[in-house]
Symmetry: C2
Subunit: 688 residues, 2 copies
């Protein structure tokens, strides 16, 4: 037999080698990809899936399934091979089975090709069974902490005596690269603090990095570091020893007071004649000779490509489904009884699973009376959050140790801590990056998370914001202290470029509301999003609350931009403002109108939403024939040319700010009614 593996090998070994050979064949065919790690980790992943993972391939959206996260996403073929061997069935966006496998053998042959279900790195929503998009290192680790937090929250909230709806575990496979990233350190520290006993990271310690051996840059004692975080740690000398690994997983499952790290030493590209154990096994097509040599070393037919022996598939499918399916069916039975015993809770769970909030929260949105002195939008944001929190019980979140400043605390709600896993106020510590990644993990587990920090520190957490956008997760990222309005803390704390940098992220709705009622409207938009993350941008300083009898309704926020105030007839000049500069341009408008200038004020809190409106609406707000346009925003100018054109002007920041009281800063940088009026008049003259 030249087309079957050597008969002496066990079904387990054949399945493991199937993963390995699929990985190398797929990479070779695509002429790109990462074969070495799937080969090294096949025994680990196989053991985890076939002997531990509580997962039903025929109901991959079962809420209480264990989550498997491949943080080293470049090893995607490992996951695709498993999804194929376990016969995971595809479900569509509505949760309906499509009748197709999640990953067919043809899909594997289309590895890394346009529109295939097997992209270079695993993509959530693209492939059933991919629990999160990974690739940027450390992010999957961060996500997993959020998943474990959410799992415990769900258990605490929904489990009742005799009804255990949520007790799932979260498993991660991660690499040296993941654990070198700061985000993983932050997330691990937080997981230890929260004593997440339902979380297990398997660290593939292969002593290899892209530049060479890990001794070039990474020789710390990882297990000891994790012990310092409060983790249970186990070190295994050989990834080939599946029994030892199984025992380690048993130990994880028996540990109920802390997360577990299993360090497994592996040989990257195991089996390759010359590349095994070297950084050359990490990426790129290995070439015919290496592949043949590896197959030979496995007792595999050298000529066979994409060979999936029947016993391999049967072994994996039977093991995974054999354990997962009865568990899932039992869960369904329990849930049916639960629905009768606790109909309200069951209904909540239905809504959660559909990604909905319960009805009623919109009615709770406050309105704010006109007030010249006004209120900081962070304050208004806190009031809105608290008004809706009672009606949105699975809205949870917190700040990176800034909640007294970001006003992101839900009053009278408990903290989410190790002893109170069902709490709602999270204390992320000064860990912005992990906060973002954890929020993504929470959003991947049904809940609606929000985060909070100063806007300048959005820079610390851009990778997870980007991934929320890529994954279409409706995370709400709250950023306060949004401009030079920060004042005395100075340039290190005054965002300039952050607004443009957030607006530049595709699929992220960045909203900078201009007064308290726009804050309420912005929150409404954010909570209504189901496939977009939102960045809510709030001021530190008070902003006048506009008189909405005199001015247009803040409902216009839903369109991204709207005419706040106008003059009779065609406008001679359009003043555009966002955030704290909206009342400023409104005040300038009043002065200009009193002088006889036909001025219009446009509020443009969300470029994202405005660009979604049709051309007719956008032209009605910003008539193409009006060239005299002035945008005013206490951030960098980049991007504003889109709305002011080459004839318009922008009052914005072209430098970093300075440490001084806010009034001095606004004067220095031209954010005054007088300066707005002066430039507006110049534009009107210029257009004549």
């Amino acid at each position: 037999m030249t087309d079957q593996p050597a008969a002496a090998r066990s079904p387990e070994r054949i399945a493991i080698d199937t993963i390995r050979t699929l990985a190398m064949d797929a990479v070779q065919k695509a002429n790109s990809g990462h074969p070495g790690t799937p080969m090294a980790l096949a025994p680990i992943a196989h053991t985890l899936w076939t002997r531990f993972l509580r997962y039903d391939p025929y109901a991959p959206d079962w809420p209480n399934r264990d989550r498997f996260v491949l943080s080293c996403g470049h090893a995607s073929m490992l996951l695709y091979a498993l999804l194929h061997l376990a016969d995971v069935q595809e479900i569509d966006a509505d949760g309906q089975p499509t009748g197709k496998p999640a990953v067919s053998l043809d899909d594997i042959k289309q590895f890394r090709q346009m529109d295939s279900k097997t992209p270079g790195h695993p993509e959530y929503r693209m492939t059933t069974g991919v629990e999160t998009t990974t690739g940027p290192l450390g992010q999957g680790c961060g996500n997993s902490v959020g998943m474990a937090i959410a799992a415990r929250w769900l258990g605490e909230t929904f489990n009742r005596d005799g009804f255990t709806l949520f007790d799932n575990d979260v498993y991660v496979i991660c690499s040296d690269g993941d654990l070198m990233e700061g985000v993983a350190s932050e997330a691990a520290s937080m997981a230890g603090h929260l004593k997440l006993a339902n979380l297990c990271w398997v660290f593939d310690s292969n002593s290899i990095t892209i530049e060479g051996g890990t001794d070039l840059a990474f020789d710390e004692d990882v297990a000891k570091r994790f012990e310092a975080y409060g983790w249970n740690t186990i070190v295994l000398p050989d990834a080939e020893d599946t029994e030892a690994f199984a025992q380690a997983l048993e130990q994880f499952r028996a540990t109920d007071d802390r997360p577990t790290l299993i360090v497994v030493r592996s040989i990257i590209g195991i089996g390759f004649p010359t590349r095994a154990g070297t950084h050359k096994a990490h990426s790129d097509a290995p070439g015919e000779e290496e592949i043949r040599g590896a197959k030979r070393s496995y007792g595999w037919p050298e000529d066979a490509q994409f060979l999936v022996p029947e016993e391999a598939k049967a072994e994996v499918t039977n093991a995974v489904a054999g354990r997962g399916r009865p568990l899932r069916e039992a869960w369904e039975a329990t849930f049916a009884r639960y629905r009768e015993a606790y109909p309200d809770l069951a209904r909540s769970l239905d809504e959660l699973r559909r990604g909905r909030l319960p009805g009623g929260w919109e009615d709770a949105l406050p309105t704010f009376e006109a007030d010249e002195k006004g209120i900081a939008s962070r304050e208004a944001g806190g009031k809105v959050l608290n008004a809706i929190a009672a009606h949105a019980p699975w809205l949870i979140g917190g700040a990176a140790d800034l909640s007294p400043s970001t006003k992101t605390e839900i009053k009278d709600a408990p903290s989410l801590e190790a002893a109170s896993p069902g709490g709602r106020n999270m204390h992320f510590g000064v860990r912005e990056h992990a906060m973002g990644a954890i929020a993504n993990g929470i959003a991947l587990t049904y809940l609606r998370p929000y985060t909070g920090t100063f806007m300048v520190f959005s820079d610390y957490m851009r990778p997870p914001i980007r991934l929320a956008a890529i994954m279409e997760l409706p995370v709400i990222f709250i950023f306060t202290h949004d401009s030079i309005g920060v004042g005395e803390d100075g340039p290190t704390h005054q965002p300039i470029e952050q607004l443009a940098a957030l607006r530049a992220i595709p699929g992220l709705d960045t909203i900078r509301p201009g007064d308290a009622n726009e804050v309420a409207a912005a929150w409404k938009v954010a909570l209504s999003h189901t496939h977009e993350p939102t960045a809510l941008i709030f001021s530190r300083q008070a902003i006048p609350t506009l008189d909405r009898g005199r001015y247009a309704s803040a409902d216009g926020v839903e369109k991204g931009g709207y005419i706040l105030a106008d003059s009779d007839g065609a406008p001679e000049v359009i003043l555009i403002g966002t955030g704290s500069e909206l009342p400023l341009v409104a005040a300038a408008h009043e002065k200009l109108v009193a002088e006889g200038v036909k001025s219009r004020v446009v509020s443009l809190p969300s470029w994202y939403l405005f660009e979604k409106q049709d051309q007719a609406y956008r032209d009605s707000v910003l008539p193409p024939e009006v060239d005299a346009r002035l945008a005013v925003e206490q951030g960098g100018a980049i991007g504003w040319d889109r709305y002011v054109g080459r004839s318009g002007r922008t009052i914005a920041m072209s430098t970093f700010g300075a440490s001084a009281p806010i009034a001095k800063l606004q004067e220095k940088y031209g954010f005054t009614v007088d300066n707005v009026c002066k430039l507006a008049r110049e534009l009107v003259e210029q257009a004549k």
Copy 2:
């Protein structure tokens, strides 16, 4: 005596209490700031400065001075008080003394006011004695690792038998917040790996965070974690015990094989009657009652404000200068002898201190022959780097474990490792964030650092890029794999918004060269910058090398934008391209010209430099009367409206990319000669 401290206290204690009372008085007067940590850490900082720091207040730019980094920059008053008490003298940008103190008592009274030398957070270049700008947590920790690396590099490079020019230490005071940040974890791991025995971090463990006690979010065993990184650790129970702290510093100085962490437990806002030891002591004006109570507890006159007893100033100045001045003078004498013994090395050191590269490197810049197949700009970048490296000996750097891909290795140069601290190739590991912060620290210590990673991971390191721009440090940040040209790795690895996000940073020169000769020109610009960081943006894929006989010289890069190709007379349409899209628009131009369209091609690799040109030059490149403009760039469109106007068009990315071979992606997203020509023709028609 009601206006002097109680006589029974020692001069040391009076100096310590002077720091404390200055901090509270300054915060109270400014009505903003952070009093609690300066108060808590006064004994620590005082002991360090008066008994250990090798620093000459009268020559604060002495190259071999110990560096003091206040990573918790919000405690800025601690540093300002020390600079005042130590009588540090101001030097100007040319290194000349101004005859003024670095921080006078009047400066302290102007704490946090416009244009004062005492901004809210310490700002490099603003205040003599501030070694780095801090405030964003964790950054100072990262900088310090770079400073320690650079100090050892300088010692290895310049020290000779009998001539020890560099043996300085780097001290850091950091907070819980610093050590929760991932960047500090990454930096600490790297410092342990490099066995930086000249580095000492003092961790202020005050058990308080802004949201409450550290038990809310941070209860890991920090000392154990640092032991895992390979650090020497010492835990002290009481910040008031200056003898114990002095012994710990002695132990640090005696340790020659690893960095040292000293954990000091302190009481934030010590002395405050009600706020001491609580998070209320962290920030904000404490109020009269708290201040009086604190002063009372120190035996300080309650009514005195900004009191600096003579003996306090004398004690600190005499101690610091008494040790530092002779050391510095001895160094000058050594250096005078060194200049005779090693004139070339001495000259190099002179150049280093002036922030210059040695002559000759410009002549080494390669030129590239026209080549249709071309070369990836990352490849060209590697060739240019290597060509100039021999002539720029203090150009050092490396990548975040991607040097085979980023082509950032200096061939035939040794690695910078613990055993070879004078090497040039740094192995940062997968630690982009620390890489940026370390590079800043290296740049703060005379050397010219460069970093390398994939462009999408610029998101992981934005905080230090921003700080390089704020500090005006000429760090060179190399980002390769700059677009959907990444291909099969897919959306997680394809930058979209990163280009706009980098361009948005004030003071950062972002250059995306369009062929190999533009790469050489871009490197020339980057190395010529003395006060600007540069982001060099390179492609993964090959780009044709343009025929510079046919097209304009790549020297135009120095102006940011230039006419690459033109037609006779006024252009009917202007095609604008950068990077890999420049040869694309050049090809489209040829086709359009052949059709009789009067087309112009503008290469616009650096918006930053182009905006620095005068209006006449910019108008000569982009004539205001030509509305038919088409920009082509494989990134997000944000910002391009500035150059194409409301009548123009942009071929850019409005979504994330996809995993597929590059040719498929370029076709899918419209980056083809045919599509460029089609839109160009439409624009010409529209303008008629």
